[in-house]
């Protein structure tokens, strides 16, 4: 497609119908998940194996939808979310999903499900609750209980094929925005939809756009914040890897609404695949004329750059992110002026999160009013969560706002597990939500409908959407220390209270965990936490004390046990734990002695063993090894 040709309605229709024609020759489609998780589990090897086996069986394999001949289309997709069960292989049109597929399984899949219409039962997902084999996503509880809206096409379409995106009504919303709507109309639709920023703050996207729209031009910018730094969060990675064009389309619409002609997608350097897919999508968009000097013949141009971050958590903060685009140290600046007034290079700038932007085209397509009906009144729509930690099914999920934690943990995640991965029915202790800026939710919050405001009211936040489920073997002081260490490391050093305060908070937590603290230490910790909140410029410092404050609020008794009894209830704080063997329970099987890395355990076979406390490094290997629960912490 020549670049100078404007992409208009005809172009979209033609691309879609061409795609239709080409895909008519596909008899079956094999989709391999090629998200980061499945690639790590070897899904690319499966791809090669499928091509090899198909060739061996003389079945024509289509790798690119260009050909005239009938055959089986073998394609890759972005992250399908069910990372723990990867690599995932889906067979269409039967919609069979195979889990944990290995190279030797490919021949059987081809024979039974590609050459014929059978199913390989042993590779289907087995519901641990009922023991039933689940054939496809409609039957797998992990998927069936979700509402995949933004993620709908993530994991089915080929993220590197622009025409497939267009075939799924892609860029239709952008065309509407450029050809049929005025900028003010686009802004008012966004306001009406009630869409709130998914990056953490929950600021209404429409208001942000409107504020930027009314600023004097001509130069304005749109930035997509893909610097998803929260540990335990990978929603944005999945969207950028799985459906990069949806992000670009959201940016195009935003650019139309505010009158911007240039944009940046800022992606974390830790996400090489997302960088690659975004770059390819931008290049394809430019080649097709979707991006360029004259978007949809409107006379308005949009030039998009992809910028790779360089490893600084604070760059997720919008002013710091813009500083790093300008080639400076990524340090935040005071607000106001807000980016809408004076952003990148002093020009009015909209900066939205990946998920927010990917939602935008869907809102225009379905209508703002319809969109607002999803979710709750104050928080319309759906939210992606990265579900991790001690649960049976980890992965990427999407649910409407207002879903309760119990529905997520029990129905979608399949329940809490112990340290060995077995279901532990009453093992739930807490969920950490919103990463280092967020807080804890406990058993008492299991039935609370989750949205921006309800979470805020209990001292937590949606944040970017990381949900880490923790079982009863987790030390909450340890978790608070973990996040404190993270923010301490990532503090950019500009504000004294954030730079030095977090360091002192970390030292106080160490005192608590290593048995040097009194209750005064905890009081001091609390006081310092409030000071750090007040004395920091940006969100990093303002929210850094949240994990400490929130664990103190809900698990004060654990702090008390640490300082008053010098005891870690979860048995995790090594300084407070000493291991011993219960002579009555020990059968003398020698398993623990063999597992001990420092030979601290001695004893004769068949007789009770003992641990030399001087040699013991408290690694816990003996506890995990013992079958008789004779090792006590």
């Amino acid at each position: 497609m020549p670049a100078e040709r404007p992409a208009d309605k005809e172009f979209l229709e033609k691309t879609a119908s061409d795609y239709e024609k080409r895909s008519a020759r596909v008899t079956k489609r094999v989709i391999l998940c090629a998200g980061t998780g499945c690639v790590a589990n070897g899904s690319l090897k499966l791809y090669d194996e499928f091509l090899r086996v198909l060739a061996e069986k003389k079945i024509h394999a289509i790798v690119e939808l260009k050909e005239e001949k009938e055959g089986v289309f073998v394609s890759k997709s972005g992250c399908q979310g069910f990372c723990q069960m990867g690599p995932l292989v889906t067979i269409l049109p039967e919609n069979i999903m195979y889990t944990k597929v290995a190279v030797p399984d490919v021949a059987e899949i081809v024979e039974k499900s590609v050459a014929a219409s059978g199913v390989v039962d042993r590779l289907l997902y087995k519901d641990p609750a009922t023991g039933a084999h689940c054939k496809g996503t409609a039957e797998i509880p992990f998927y069936a209980k979700q509402h995949r809206f933004v993620l709908r096409d993530c994991g089915t379409i080929d993220p590197e094929d622009l025409s497939e995106y267009i075939h799924k009504r892609g860029y239709e919303a952008a065309r509407m925005a450029y050809c049929d709507m005025t900028p003010a109309q686009v802004c008012s639709d966004m306001l009406k939809s009630g869409l709130r920023g998914r990056g953490g703050g929950g600021f209404p996207a429409g208001r942000k756009w409107e504020l930027t729209r009314v600023q004097p031009g001509p130069k304005k910018y749109v930035i997509c914040n893909g610097d998803e730094g929260d540990p335990g969060a990978f929603m944005d990675r999945s969207v950028m890897e799985g459906n990069p064009h949806s992000v670009i389309e959201g940016m195009l619409i935003c650019a139309r609404a505010v009158g911007a002609d240039e944009g940046y997608v800022y992606v974390r350097t830790e996400y090489p695949l997302a960088v690659k897919r975004m770059r390819k999508a931008v290049a394809d968009g430019e080649a097709a004329g979707v991006l360029g000097d004259n978007v949809f013949g409107s006379g308005q141009g949009f030039k998009l750059h992809v910028m790779e971050g360089a490893g600084a958590f604070v760059c997720g903060e919008e002013t710091a992110l813009m500083a790093s685009i300008e080639g400076k140290r990524g340090m935040p600046n005071p607000k106001p002026p807000f980016p809408a007034q004076s952003g990148l290079w002093g020009k009015p700038t909209v900066i939205n999160n990946v998920e927010t932007l990917a939602t935008v085209p869907l809102i225009l397509l379905m209508g703002a009013g319809e969109y607002a009906k999803m979710g709750t009144k104050g928080s319309p729509g759906t939210k992606n969560f990265a579900l991790t930690g001690h649960v049976a099914n980890t992965g990427l999920i999407e649910v409407p706002f207002g879903t309760t934690l119990r529905q997520i943990v029990n129905d979608i995640a399949g329940g809490v597990t112990d340290d060995k991965g077995k279901i532990w029915p009453d093992g739930f202790k807490a969920v950490q939500i919103g990463g280092p800026s967020g807080g804890c939710l406990t058993a008492e919050h299991l039935d609370m409908p989750m949205d921006f405001d309800s979470l805020k009211s209990i001292g937590a936040m949606v944040g970017s959407g990381g949900l880490v489920v923790m079982n009863k073997n987790t030390c909450m002081v340890g978790i608070a220390r973990y996040f404190m260490q993270f923010t301490q490391n990532e503090s950019c050093g500009k504000c004294v209270l954030c730079r030095e305060g977090t360091r002192q908070m970390l030292a106080l937590l160490d005192d608590i965990m290593e048995g040097r603290a009194t209750w005064e230490t905890v009081e001091l910790l609390k006081k310092l936490a409030l000071a750090v909140q007040k004395g920091s410029l940006c969100g990093l410092g303002k929210t850094a004390p949240n994990p400490v404050l929130s664990t103190l609020r809900y698990f004060e008794d654990e702090y008390r046990a640490h300082v008053e009894q010098k005891r870690c209830p979860a048995g995790r704080c090594k300084a407070l734990v000493s291991y011993s063997i219960d002579a009555a329970a020990c059968k003398g099987c020698t398993l623990c002695a063999r597992q001990c890395p420092v030979n601290a355990i001695t004893g004769e076979r068949g007789k009770p063993h003992s641990i030399d406390a001087a040699k013991c490094i408290k690694c816990g290997a003996c506890i995990s090894a013992c079958k008789f629960k004779a090792v006590k912490a």
Binding site: T36, G37, V39, A40, N41, F82, C83, Q84, G86, E228, G229, D230, P231, G232, A233, F234, R237, S238, T269, E270, Y271, P272, M307, E308, G309, A310, G311, A312, F313, S324, I325, E326, G327, K328, R329, G330, M331, A386, T388, G389, H390, T394, G395, L396, Q432, G435, G466, V468, M470, T474, I479, Y482, F483, F486, N489, E490, C492, C619
Partner: protein, 165 residues
């Protein structure tokens, strides 16, 4: 050797030209230089500063601010243990300790003297479904145990000694 130095800066000039010698593109420039040399040599940073018409302090400031940039050479194999929340609660610290012990390294001394290995932690790779995860150069290894991790190291050492012969 003057010839060698000339060649060195030739590469840097190419990178600078590709980025239009634009000071706002400092971060992409440093990224490309690091991809070439595996770290940012001091004389090259000074050279970049002069070429872009900015002070060396600004280049150093940016290079030291971002954790992706290294001012000392890294090993041929950069082993990064993910310490994101999901990996942390699944005991990634044990993997890290096993690696330090195996290679006789520490947080203060992360690179082996033969420049074969560098051990680092990374805050989150976004591969939480595979926790705990270890990345060796570009390859992600999921659901690791200390034993599996040291086995990976053994494999690399074996491969490298075979290549050296």
């Amino acid at each position: 050797m003057p010839g060698k130095n000339l060649r060195k800066f030739g590469k840097v000039c190419e990178i600078l030209d590709r980025n239009g010698r634009d000071a706002s593109r400092l971060i992409p420039i440093l990224q490309e230089v690091q991809a070439e040399y595996r770290y940012l040599p001091e004389e090259i940073m000074t050279f970049i500063a002069t070429s872009l018409g900015i002070s060396p302090a600004r280049v150093f400031g940016v290079a030291t601010f971002f954790s992706h940039f290294a001012l000392v050479p890294k090993g041929k194999y950069v082993v990064r243990v993910c310490d994101g929340t999901a990996c942390h609660v699944k005991k990634s610290t044990d993997l890290l300790n096993a690696l330090y012990k195996k290679l006789n390294l520490s947080p203060e001394k992360p690179t082996s003297p033969d420049l074969l290995f560098t051990i680092e932690t990374v805050s989150c790779l976004g591969a939480c479904g595979l926790a705990p995860a270890v990345v060796i150069n570009e390859d992600v290894h999921g659901q690791m145990t200390p034993a599996k991790t040291t086995a990976l190291i053994d494999e690399i050492i074996k491969k490298e000694t075979a290549n050296a012969r």
